[in-house]
Amino acid sequence: APAKKNNADVLRPTGPVTITADRAEWSKTGVMVYTGNVSLVSEKMKMNGNRLELTQFPESQYTAKITGDQAHLEHAGEPTEKGEPTPTVTADASTLLYDSRTSVVDVIGNAKMTRGKDEVTGSNIRYNVAERRIQATGGDAGQVKIVIQPPPDKKLQLQKAAESKAAEIKAPESTTPDAKPAVSKPAENTP
């Protein structure tokens, strides 16, 4: 029976990968170097930078090392089982190192990751693409910093919705075309 796929295998991006660049150098060692306006686009993930070293392995696996002033990654969110959208994950650093065999991106050097409004910064961050999990460790440059935006307060949301509805109901009375514009008479000699 075929080997049972583990969770990472099931979630790993398997579609075609397209790389565009100004130039490319292929060498017999198997390493391919792309330079100038480099972009790597796979199913749901996109990485950009100035230089990309791509090393290929059997079974279409590969590692992609992208460097740049700031190499950039975007991983589009996927709707949950209930169909709710999940936010895009982004990463910026001087080096992004993606390994398709482990489905992990190492975000190295002046690293910053965001998920929606949440933000993590540190010297090294690791992002598991398949499982969308972020792991960050402090380093010489100091501790990891994380800012997590509080989830929206449901009660507050309902209250705001009610208020805006009430405002809508009141508004049509005063703006129906037939009604005379309400003119407020100047008060006569009232103190």
Partner: protein
């Protein structure tokens, strides 16, 4: 006296005849030039051309339907295939319907459609490149083009403009507008 006169006239006629024949001979020597342009020094059909380097090793090997080789070291080649670039381990096999060696140059221009097969692949499908023209340069030991090209290599498909590779197949550079798609086997 009359016999002497007859003898002089006969002598004059034979001298005239002799000079005529000489000039006629000179006229019949093969002209290097005629209406359709210079004529090849060697006109070869179903030919094989092996070029050796100063070290006596094979530089390249061509088989062609026609090779016309001229005195100014230019050549016109018809339906050619080429391999052995830099010796038996040469990485490339090339085919083209027409080739041309410019006068006094150590390179060959192969014309479209040019098909390049990279033999350096370990057992897998070979690298294949398709372009409209290709220079094969004996001096630089390179093949190169500035034309657009298309390439397939295993699961990869690429397009680019301009390419340069060494004869041994150690390095291949795609020079502009590179787009590579890896289509993983599902």
């Amino acid at each position: 006296m009359r016999r002497l006169l007859l003898l002089a006239v006969a002598l004059a006629i034979s001298v005239a005849l002799w000079m005529g024949v000489q000039s006629f001979d000179r006229a019949s020597e093969p002209q290097a030039q005629d209406e359709s342009g210079p004529r090849p020094q060697y006109a070869l059909r179903d030919a094989e051309w092996t070029r050796l380097g100063a070290d006596g090793k094979t530089q390249f090997h061509i088989t062609a339907a026609t090779i016309d080789y001229y005195e100014n070291k230019s050549a016109v080649i018809g339906r050619m295939s080429m391999d052995g670039l830099g010796g038996d381990k040469g990485a490339w096999a090339l085919t083209s319907p027409a080739g041309e060696v410019p006068a006094n140059q150590e390179r060959i221009l192969m014309k479209k459609p040019v098909v390049i097969t990279g033999k350096s692949n370990k057992g897998g499908a070979p690298m294949m490149l398709y372009t409209d023209e290709l220079w094969v340069d004996s001096k630089r030991k390179e093949i190169y083009t500035s034309a657009p090209l298309r390439m397939t290599y295993g699961e990869q498909q690429a397009t680019a403009t301009g390419m340069r590779a060494d004869w041994a197949g150690e390095n291949l550079n795609l020079l502009h507008d590179v787009k590579v798609t890896y289509v993983p086997r599902s």
